[in-house]
Amino acid sequence: MLEYRIEIALWALSGVLPFIMFSLWSQNDVGNSFGLNDIGLARYFLSAFLVRQFSVVWVVFSFEEDSLSGRLSPYLLQPLHPLLRYVAAHLAEQATRLPFAIAIAITFFILNPSSFWLPSLPQLFLAYLSTHFAFTIAFLLQSLVAALCFWTEKSSALERLIFVPYLFLSGLLVPLSAFPSNVLKLAMLTPFPYLINFPAKILSGMPVDIFNGFLAQILWISILVPSVKILWKLGVKRYTAMGA
């Protein structure tokens, strides 16, 4: 992974969307209408950026490539679930991304010195834990789509159907407290707010229902794990080894 330093720096940069949105919300003084001043907004969007850096998932793309090129066949023979291989790759890259994420956070504080804050240790721990849960949920969701690779060759197209609601409902573009209440209720029924909004709120020190948030994250994980297992099993039976 260290071989691809520029790659990873660029990828860290490609997460600038929360910062663009921050500049819009604060420039147009919209924050007040959903109970956040400029400092609150700045902290929220920096947290959202950081949470995304450590919860972003691309398993469906790696899996599709491996499946189409026939590399999956030897993986399936090994006494190790192939998905674990991707988990390891994701975790390794998260670790390499840490210095870039810190560098970007420092730059952000230099540009917005008034927003500087250090989360307390328990806050940091809870944010760390919920980001890991967020990563787990995102990974399982994409694995579900990846398992569809066994049926259709182009499951990365299906990934768009997860990405679109993720983009708008996760809180990457705006804190969910800005939503009108009926839209918010609907959004909270999906797993997406727990991917960015919930961990980012903890990290930035906004008031948040910690107990229910973790409960929902664990609930989603316990629904998704068996679903992925079942779909995967059914899929492997249909696997016909392409390309090899």
């Binding site: 990828w11 490609s14 500049s23 147009n28 182009k154 679109v164 983009l167 705006v174 939503f179």
Partner: protein, 262 residues
């Protein structure tokens, strides 16, 4: 010249035939497109709660920008993404050799080889939003404003194409440019909102360094009949410079191409 048109026709009819194989993809793209549009209009509406305006743009005129963005996004999905993201693969696998040997301009070949028809609904929908929202915001079209609109869309598209092609061409050295394209896409998302809604520093960057303003804000101003002539003039010069630079850069990059594997 005629040879080029004939080549495009052949390329795209082959593309059409091969995409008929994947009808499901078409449906998925359609769903994703509608979801994206719904989501971005919803986020946009949050800026206007309590009778506010977004950088002196009214709700209807801001929708014109969403329309232009959707139109350009459709063009991107139809033409730029399928073609320009492939360049890195040609370089990595050494198949660029075959492209270079063909008796046709290599930049042309690489830029128009594919056409994804799933982008067409987005193009049409984008234009419909532009005209609907422009009428809603009380604009009366003249043949002059339509003409300026088309020219400014062209300017935007050429700038977008040139920047993207530059990044793709740099794969001759770096081989992996996927992430650089992602940075570009993330920055382009800034084009969903009027340029005057940004802080001054970003306004400057998005006009001169990475001219996002020319992609969406200025075409929208054109159809609303508010675009200043000197901006159009500046855009013409800027887009020509970008295009010429992308060509020179490609020629320069090819000199450094060492081929792979074979």
């Amino acid at each position: 010249m005629q040879r080029y048109f004939k080549t495009i026709r052949l390329f795209w009819s082959t593309a059409f035939a091969s995409q008929l194989e994947y009808q499901l993809n078409f449906l998925i793209e359609l769903l994703a497109m509608l979801g994206t549009l719904l989501g971005s209009v919803f986020i946009l509406s949050l800026f206007f709660t309590g009778g506010r305006q977004l950088g002196d743009w009214t709700w209807e005129s801001a929708l014109v920008i969403q329309g232009v963005y959707t139109f350009l996004d459709g063009l991107t999905n139809a033409l730029l993404r399928p073609n320009l993201t492939e360049i890195v693969n040609y370089v990595r696998e050494g198949t660029l050799d075959y492209v270079l040997l063909k008796p046709i301009d290599s930049q042309f070949w690489l830029s128009v080889k594919k056409f994804s028809f799933a982008g067409l609904p987005e193009i049409i929908l984008g234009l419909s939003i532009v005209f609907w929202a422009a009428i809603q915001s009380g604009s009366t079209f003249s043949s002059y404003s339509l003409f300026v609109f088309i020219i400014s869309l062209l300017i935007g598209f050429i700038i977008l194409y040139s920047v993207w092609f530059l990044i793709a061409a740099s794969s001759i050295w770096f081989v992996k440019t996927w992430n650089a394209t992602e940075v570009l896409r993330a920055l382009l998302a800034a084009g969903r909102y009027p340029i005057s809604a940004y802080p001054v520093i970003l306004r400057f960057i998005f006009t001169l360094v990475l001219p996002v303003a020319f992609l969406t804000t200025f075409p929208a101003e054109a159809i609303l009949g508010e675009l200043k002539f000197n901006i159009l003039f500046f855009g013409l010069i800027l887009s020509s410079l970008f295009f010429i630079f992308s060509r020179l850069f490609w020629k320069f990059a090819l000199k450094h191409y060492t081929s792979a594997s074979s």
